[in-house]
């Protein structure tokens, strides 16, 4: 248990100054601008926005600068800032069929209506250093096709859905407003909306590890990447004062539709089942991991024994939050003097009593012998 401590103001003030000094690094090297981070560290910014649960590229860039690139500390800054702002309402549900596609691939279907679009990906790079980035090399001329992509690309599961071979994702009756774990604490068993919200905010590394465990057989649902798409989607809102819907702008998002094998049960015929991943920015690893874990957490819905960690929702959802996890682990650094003193005294007392008992027994034995 942590007991509050007092004092240390001068040392704490000095550590703030030292932190600023260390953060700046060698003053002979030009200082980073927030705009440079925003434009050139987009994937790090996506992670900070996802785990900070707040879309704002400039703030995420500032958070990365302030935290010396520590993604978890940066996400913490985003969460803290969010709590200072009023909430104006909820958007209309984002429609990913309206996405201005920058990348869209399927590992399940080769010939997709609209085509496979690689976009900006590291997938087909050789993972060799490009030392030209250490000098001021001119950026390459980017090729442009003679025509743009189709403005409307169907989502892959919707294509397969026409044959009835895949689990249908339809809104429940009345299309209710979702639960919000930032307003109401998590409750178990968790409904799908709560699970997806918590996974959206979840730590990429933790979800990646869980998704990997599923693939290796700890909850085996062999997943196919049905579709991964990345691009800008419009955000629409209906302000009460206006009474009609307006667009607030566009945000860059990644969506992953995982398709999984399912043998069927007495109630459900054999079909493909689905896992869903959705994340801010270009963040495929996060969206894919989320989709695999989302499917694993549907174990109950399909009558599967939830025997593995990735299928156990309390384990997954309570432990996937970056901020809560790092807060609890790292609070161990704060002074626990009173607590430790108590433990120390208890231990001394136990040992003293043990020693006294031993002496008493020895004395008794000596008495019996004499």
């Amino acid at each position: 248990m942590y007991v509050a401590v007092k004092g240390g103001e001068a040392a704490i003030a000095a550590t703030h100054d030292l932190l600023a000094h260390v953060r700046r690094g060698n003053p002979d090297v030009a200082e980073l601008e927030v705009a440079q981070l925003r434009e050139q560290m987009k994937l790090a910014i996506a992670r900070v926005m996802n785990e900070g649960s707040l879309f704002d590229e400039e703030l995420a860039a500032l958070a990365l600068k302030q935290s010396q690139g520590d993604a978890v500390e940066a996400a913490f800054l985003m969460r803290a800032y969010r709590t200072t702002l009023p909430r104006f309402g909820s958007s209309l549900p984002i429609d990913t069929t309206l996405m201005a596609i920058q990348r869209r691939i399927s590992a399940a279907f080769k010939d997709l209506p609209g085509g496979q679009v690689l976009g900006p990906t590291y997938d087909y790079t050789h993972r060799l250093f490009d030392f030209s980035l250490m000098s001021d090399a001119e950026p390459p001329v980017v090729p442009q096709a003679s025509a743009g992509l189709d403005s409307h690309m169907p989502r892959v599961p919707d294509i397969l859905g026409d044959e009835g071979l895949i689990e249908v994702e339809a809104p429940p009756a009345g299309d209710p407003a979702p639960t919000d774990i930032t307003r109401d604490p998590a409750q178990f068993p968790a409904a799908r909306d709560m699970r997806l919200q918590m996974l959206s905010r979840g730590d990429e590394g933790f979800l990646l590890g869980l998704a990997y465990s599923v693939q290796r057989g700890f909850g085996g649902n062999h997943p196919f990447a049905g579709e991964i798409r990345m691009g800008e989607v419009p955000v629409s809102f209906c302000p009460e004062e206006l009474g009609f819907e307006i667009d607030l702008g566009d945000i860059l998002v990644t969506e992953c539709q995982m398709i999984n094998q399912f043998v069927g049960s007495s109630e459900v015929p054999p079909q493909f089942t689905r896992g869903y991943g959705f994340s801010f920015g270009h963040s495929e690893r996060k969206a894919m991991s989320m989709a695999i874990v989302d499917r694993a957490l549907k174990a109950r819905d399909f009558g599967e024994a939830a025997s593995y960690p990735a299928q156990q929702e309390e384990f997954v959802l309570y432990h996937c939050d970056t901020i809560e996890a790092s807060g609890f682990v790292e609070h161990l650094k704060l002074p626990h003097y009173v607590d430790f003193q108590g433990e120390l005294e208890l231990l001394r007392k136990i040992r003293k009593e043990q020693e006294e008992r031993r002496l008493a027994v020895t004395k008794e034995a000596e008495g019996a012998l004499s």
């Binding site: 496979q116 976009g119 900006p120 009609f244 667009d247 959705f278």
Partner: protein, 149 residues
């Protein structure tokens, strides 16, 4: 013009203004005669909860928030509103003023021609170029037939 068409037109120009960059709005306002405005509700930064749907088509869920800014001004007889993602308060005030001016039938055509149309065209051009760059990475993979051995 009936109310439905009026709202549709207004949502159209508000969408253009919301997507415009800061410098586009500042430059556009310099090109027109902007009357005095009264601030009704000062530009305010807040958040909007972004909803998604499971599988893209199913149950609604909260995907996380985004920052947004809103502002209300009075321009002559009209109340102008602005709502946009981000935290740009100056842009919010100017966009609200433009929304007010656009509601005035005497000014609408002029503002449309000098502000809305060029900003919309620049946006469409950026989108088209991004789409063409993506289209250059369209791929056709060949599936290799496995041998019997």
């Amino acid at each position: 013009m009936n109310r439905v068409n009026e709202n549709r037109d207004r949502a159209g120009w508000m969408a253009v203004l919301a997507r415009a960059t800061h410098s586009e709005i500042v430059a556009a306002v310099e090109k027109i005669d902007m009357p005095a405005i009264d601030i009704v509700k000062p530009a305010e930064v807040g958040t909007i909860m972004l909803e998604g749907r499971a599988g893209g088509s199913g149950q609604r869920f909260n995907a996380g928030e985004a920052t947004m800014t809103r502002c209300v001004v009075r321009v002559g007889e009209c109340l102008g509103f602005s709502y946009a993602l981000g935290r740009d308060k100056k842009k919010a005030v100017l966009c609200a003023a433009l929304d007010g001016l656009l509601q005035n039938p005497m000014r609408r055509n002029e503002i449309f021609e000098h502000v809305i149309a060029p900003i919309a065209a620049a946006y469409a051009k950026r989108q088209e170029e991004a789409s063409r760059r993506a289209a250059a990475t369209k791929v056709d993979f060949f599936t290799m037939v496995r041998g019997d051995g």
